[in-house]
């Protein structure tokens, strides 16, 4: 069975070009970039090149790029470093819809005595900027807001938020794991101090990430060890993955406009057709400020895990914000923060596309999904009621 992969916010396929760039550094060129000999030194040169490629993608300077092991490490490093830099400040400002990498860390910090403020979002997932501005205090050590939401794709106005923080002398970090490569980012034109990137969300392998740290920002390392990354992150470099990520950044920088336009067309088609063909379905999150590849659709009166497993039977891969898929007993914190009603929240499905999706695949999903939803609704004790309610309207 062919796999139709519409779960690219979870992880992406490694690009062929990326894999090709990496392979020699497993097999033949295994030297340590810190070594004095030519054999290691040539790997060091290649890492410099990767750093330049990554910097170019976001309009940064190469020395502002620190390679890490993943987005989560980048988030942890940024927030913890800020707290170390300002030991007198005890307040962390974030949002209600952050990825667990930030959310769980903040919960942990709260138990250690830090004051955490989570700014709410409205029903469309839009950040309350008035509350945000009011929550910036002289005690605030760091603001951490995600650029794009992993579940809904909704974009936060992080550039504006960073300005407001910087004006008050507060450090600003953004988890841009979902945004990098999907929307243009230029660090020269904003006030963001730190930004997290994850390799495997942009067709590089898993286990590699980046923390961008603006020049002049006080930084204290998360992993203490050797002199690597200018003593900002100890540990021998993951050379093949760094080189792969550099190549992935180069690819995405060269093709972002055309590729994203194509992805956007496919996403819009998928979304429009699903909404047209399946009654009692709706999009979660604003459609005005959103990633081009993501749509989060709720199907009323059915449960997400059941939908996923029936799609899985056709080889269609997606994710859900339902309770059953999270392993917890409540729907995703993002949908709850948006106040999505329970009848909808349990039946939410996230489709996230990539440049490797085809029109044919989208057609296949559009064709199969209505009968999947219908089948589950025919089993649902709530559906008849819902149907009646609709026909009355």
């Amino acid at each position: 069975m062919k796999t139709i992969y519409l779960d690219n916010n979870a992880t992406t396929q490694v690009a062929e070009e990326v894999l090709d760039a990496m392979l020699p550094y497993f097999r033949d060129l295994y030297g340590n970039p810190s070594s004095m000999h030519t054999f290691g030194g040539q790997v060091g040169r290649k890492i410099r090149e990767a750093r330049e490629q990554a910097a170019a993608l976001i309009g940064a300077q190469p020395e502002e790029i620190i390679f890490t092991s993943c987005g989560t490490e980048s988030d942890n490093a940024a927030i913890r470093s800020s707290l170390t830099a300002h030991p007198d400040r005890r307040h962390v400002l974030t949002s209600r819809v952050e990825h667990p990498a930030v959310k769980s860390l903040c919960a942990h910090l709260s138990r250690q005595g830090y004051r955490i403020t989570e700014i709410p979002v409205d029903k469309d997932g839009i950040l309350d900027m008035t509350q945000y501005e009011r929550a910036l205090t002289p005690d605030t050590a760091i603001v951490s807001l995600m650029w794009a939401n992993n579940e809904t794709g909704v974009l936060f106005p992080v550039e504006k938020a960073a300005e407001l923080a910087t004006e008050r002398g507060i450090l600003f970090h953004t988890d841009a794991v979902q945004a990098v490569g999907k929307i243009p980012i230029n660090m020269k034109a904003n006030a963001i101090d730190m930004l997290s990137i994850s390799g495997h969300k942009l067709h590089a392998p898993k286990g590699i990430g980046i923390l961008y740290v603006r020049k002049g920002t006080k930084f204290s390392p998360f992993l203490i060890g050797g002199h690597q990354e200018k003593e900002r992150r100890g540990g021998t470099e993951n050379t093949p993955s760094i080189i792969g990520l550099g190549r992935a950044c180069e690819l995405v920088a060269a093709n972002m406009d055309t590729e994203n336009r194509m992805v956007l067309l496919l996403r819009d088609k998928l979304e429009a057709e699903i909404l047209a063909r399946i009654p009692n379905s709706r999009v979660n999150g604003t459609r005005l400020y959103r990633l081009p590849n993501t749509t989060n659709i709720s199907f009323e009166f059915v449960e997400g895990e059941a939908i996923l497993l029936l799609m899985d039977d056709y080889g269609i891969c997606a994710s859900s914000g339902s309770a059953c898929t999270s392993g917890s007993l409540q729907p995703s914190h993002v949908l709850r923060a948006m106040g999505v009603p329970f009848t909808m929240a349990h039946g939410s499905i996230r489709f996230s596309l990539s440049i490797y999706n085809t029109e044919e695949e989208i057609h296949f999903v559009i064709e199969k999904l209505p009968s999947i939803i219908e089948r589950l609704r025919s089993m649902s004790p709530y559906w008849t009621l819902g149907e009646q309610a609709c026909s009355v309207q």
Binding site: F301, V302, E303, G304, E305, A306, L309, L310, D313, S322, A323, C324, T325, G327, S328, L329, Q330, P331, F342, T343, H346, S378, M379, S380, P381, Y382
Partner: protein, 274 residues
């Protein structure tokens, strides 16, 4: 990804007895859309007061649908007394097991069956007003006590897996801990929920079909269940088994062990000539 058994997947993909029985003798609805799963059960009895027809409608995940389907298959043909004795463990066992975090689905099935029978008998039995312990999921003290007793639970996490209680805000964890202590102090350790005779026969048949027959058939043999008297399982051997000198050893070491594993540790296997 959840680790579901093939049987769970099969019941999810091809659920039995979906719908609502016309003019039912008993009906029940448990769960709610807010909680993420809900089950509506309706049944009809025949003139011998056995369950003739039973149907379900379920909103929920794959395991909620599969347990509903399994329950209806299990109790069909049973008297209400027998159906009342089907425990959530029986439902889970019928499906070859459920992930720990999904055990609450089997509890939901058990509760729906009980409630539908109560409905048939004319409303809920007289009992002290139900005290809600978990506000997030509306779980009562009695439900938690029952789950702890029947499943021999000892931690809050287990209670959450089986009843959902404590899976929201976490404000009731201390109250759940107290219930666990109280039930465990009062009750002797539960070894295994008691199963009815019909239940036992069904489970033995299931185990023979699923676990035993395929292995015997590989060697050209077969086995047939003749009768179950108490814990004595009477079987007849067929094919090469009937003439094989090693058949005795196979019966004792393979068949009996399997049945003891899957059904009850007290079972003794006996060969009869049909």
């Amino acid at each position: 990804m959840w680790e579901y058994t093939d049987k769970v997947k099969e019941h999810f993909l091809n659920p039995r007895n979906v719908g609502e029985v016309e003019n039912p003798d008993g009906i029940a609805e448990v769960g709610s859309i807010a909680c993420g799963d809900a089950l509506k059960l309706s049944f009809k009895l025949d003139e011998k007061k056995r369950i003739k027809d039973i149907k379900f409608k379920t909103f929920g995940c794959a395991s909620a649908i599969a347990t509903s389907s399994a329950l209806t298959e299990m109790v069909k043909g049973m008297t209400l007394e027998e159906a009342m004795k089907v425990t959530n463990q029986d439902i889970a066992a019928y499906l070859g097991g459920l992930p720990q975090k999904k055990m609450h689905c089997s509890v939901m099935g058990k509760q729906a069956m009980e409630k539908a029978i109560e409905n048939y008998k004319g409303g809920p039995p007289t009992e002290p007003a139900a005290q809600i312990i978990c506000e997030c999921f509306g779980v009562t003290e009695r439900e938690i006590e029952q789950a702890v007793r029947e499943n021999n639970l000892s931690t809050v996490e287990e209670v959450t897996n089986y009843t959902k209680a404590g899976g929201g805000c976490g404000g009731c964890h201390d109250a759940i801990r107290e219930i666990i202590e109280r039930v465990r102090a009062g009750a002797a350790p539960v070894v295994r929920p008691k199963i009815s005779n019909i239940q036992k026969i069904r489970m033995i048949e299931e185990t023979i079909e699923r676990e035993i027959r395929p292995s015997l058939k590989k060697d050209g043999g077969d086995i047939e269940l003749v009768d179950v008297i108490g814990n004595r399982v009477l079987v007849a051997t067929r094919g090469t088994c009937a003439t094989c000198k090693a058949a005795d050893i196979t019966l004792k070491h393979f068949v009996e062990l399997k049945l003891r594993d899957f059904v009850s540790p007290e079972l003794v296997i006996e060969e009869v000539t049909p």
